[in-house]
């Protein structure tokens, strides 16, 4: 009953249909952020590290007009006795993140250049691969939540970002790097100011969106 009061104003069905066809404009603020790599480019370009208007890598389907060299690493992935999900090798957009963040491909490896600037330290996942990182590239479903017993069902749980975990945080039902981080530092991430996170860590708010603890 009370929830009804919170429901967003009804929108025209036309607007809903149109939004499927057009990508809504967002206010990303890459300039000045951790992903502002323009100092590494002689022409101070911003987007070129990942995207290009011409001659894009058509083998990459998870990001538009891809321009960066991609990693071919196999990673040791996270495992634990309490893990119920099946965690495979990172796929999709997460592999694109790792194309800088595993430390094996240069940040400025784009176009035909192999690049020369490699991430190290906390910015790169390092030799352990993904063993000591929160698992990614696994299907987070309602049945997984039931099986685990300490996860919220993603299809009905609020993401705190306006819709459900499924709608806002998962990619084809899969948890990826971008479930928590906004690579382009969109408005939500810009407001939070914490490792490009869209949901604040204060009081472990971010963790508790999915984890029922």
């Amino acid at each position: 009953m009370e929830r009804r009061a919170w429901r967003a104003p009804r929108r025209f069905i036309l607007s809903a249909l149109t939004s499927l066809a057009l990508v809504p404009l967002t206010q990303a603020q890459i300039t000045g952020s951790a992903h502002d790599l323009s100092p590494l480019d002689p022409d101070r370009r911003l987007c070129i590290f990942c995207h290009t208007p011409h001659g894009a890598d058509t083998s990459v389907a998870d990001a538009p007009l891809w321009n960066h060299a991609t990693t071919n690493q196999n990673y040791v992935v996270y495992d634990s006795p309490t893990l119920d999900a099946t965690v495979g090798q990172p796929v999709g957009a997460s592999r694109l993140c790792l194309s800088c963040h595993d430390g094996t491909v240069a940040v400025d490896a784009f176009g035909s250049s192999p690049g020369s600037f490699f991430l190290g330290g906390p910015g790169a996942v390092g030799s352990d691969g993904l063993l000591n990182d929160h698992p990614i590239s696994f299907q987070y479903t309602d049945s997984l939540a039931v099986q685990d017993g300490e996860l919220h069902p993603p299809s009905v749980t609020s993401s705190l970002l306006g819709s459900t975990i499924d709608d806002d945080l998962l990619f084809n039902g899969s948890m990826e790097c971008s479930s928590c981080h906004d690579v382009h530092r969109g408005p939500a991430a810009a407001a939070v100011n914490d490792a490009l996170l869209m949901i604040p860590q204060t009081g472990s708010t971010l963790c508790l969106v999915c984890h029922n603890k």
Partner: protein
Amino acid sequence: MSSHARRLLALSLCALAACARVPEEPPRPPILYPPPPDAPRVQYLTSIRSVTDMPRATSRLADIVLGPPEEGMRVWKPYGVAMAGTHLYICDTIINNVLIFDFADGSARSLSTNLGADVLRNPINIAVADDGTKYVADALRGQVVVFGPDDRYQTAWGTPEEMTPCDVLVVGDRLAVADLLDDEIEIWDRRTGERLSSFGGPGSGPGQFRAPTNLALSPDGTLCVSETHGFRVQRLTLEGDPILTFGEIGTGFGQFTRPKGVAVDPAGRICVVDSAFSNVQIFTDSGELLMFFGGAGPNVSNLDLPADIEIVTDPVSLALFEPFVAPGRHISHLFLVSSQFGVPRINVYGFLDEGETPTDHGRPVP
């Protein structure tokens, strides 16, 4: 096609048609304070968590072309609130930023870009001057952070060694700053940040303060200060001369347990948020209790660990909330009250200006 399949098809077409037309919700009775049989003076209007909780002031063409507005920016833990025209400013102490909701175009953004000097660390309260300059009291920075009319960072005044600013108030060309470190009120030049004077100091005598957390300006130009640890409200001149002191610790009517936000309406009535009672008590300009509204409870019209109150008289702002006002009633100003807990939100109440003189338990209400 079998008759069964045909019936199924007809049913699903009916279901589709039903989806296309959303039935109107029946109107709910307005939530009024004080409850009957007293004449109502305050109506709960709505609650705001995200910019999409409000109907749009302009046409929805932008929605159709660009898709629905971003719902990602929402309130996490609001403290200070301010409103100027169609813009609502909310100090959020979880994301440590000031959210700006523009109800004219349904857009949401943050005041600080978090890139460089403008990073807010603990923004508690905000004041918006008539010229659009924003002053943010940041307790952890120990500074008042200044943003221009274009929302760009301009400068910051103060150091954490010398102050813990909790509230800031624009008084003409001056700023009044509530400093929790020294339990005092400082008066600054709002163009230069130069400290002109200060008054107060820890104590429970007239003109002294214990945790002066919130400030408000009276129509006669005097200052109202709520003391969270002094359990009272004081009215003083800008020179620090005490005019009125009222309130004491307790749980009775007109007493305080955790007084926080304070605001003065155009008639001089003093409204005080108590975060322990989860309500707003309204007093006369001489400190006599008139009524209270909000209160703890499960409904969105209740308050949950409330912090700040802002009184809004701007007709542009008022017009945004007119659709929520009960038919046949008229509001003269709004109360915006932040709730920090439960469903974090800004509750909006309207003061019903009925042009009558209702009685409060037989006593005339000014």
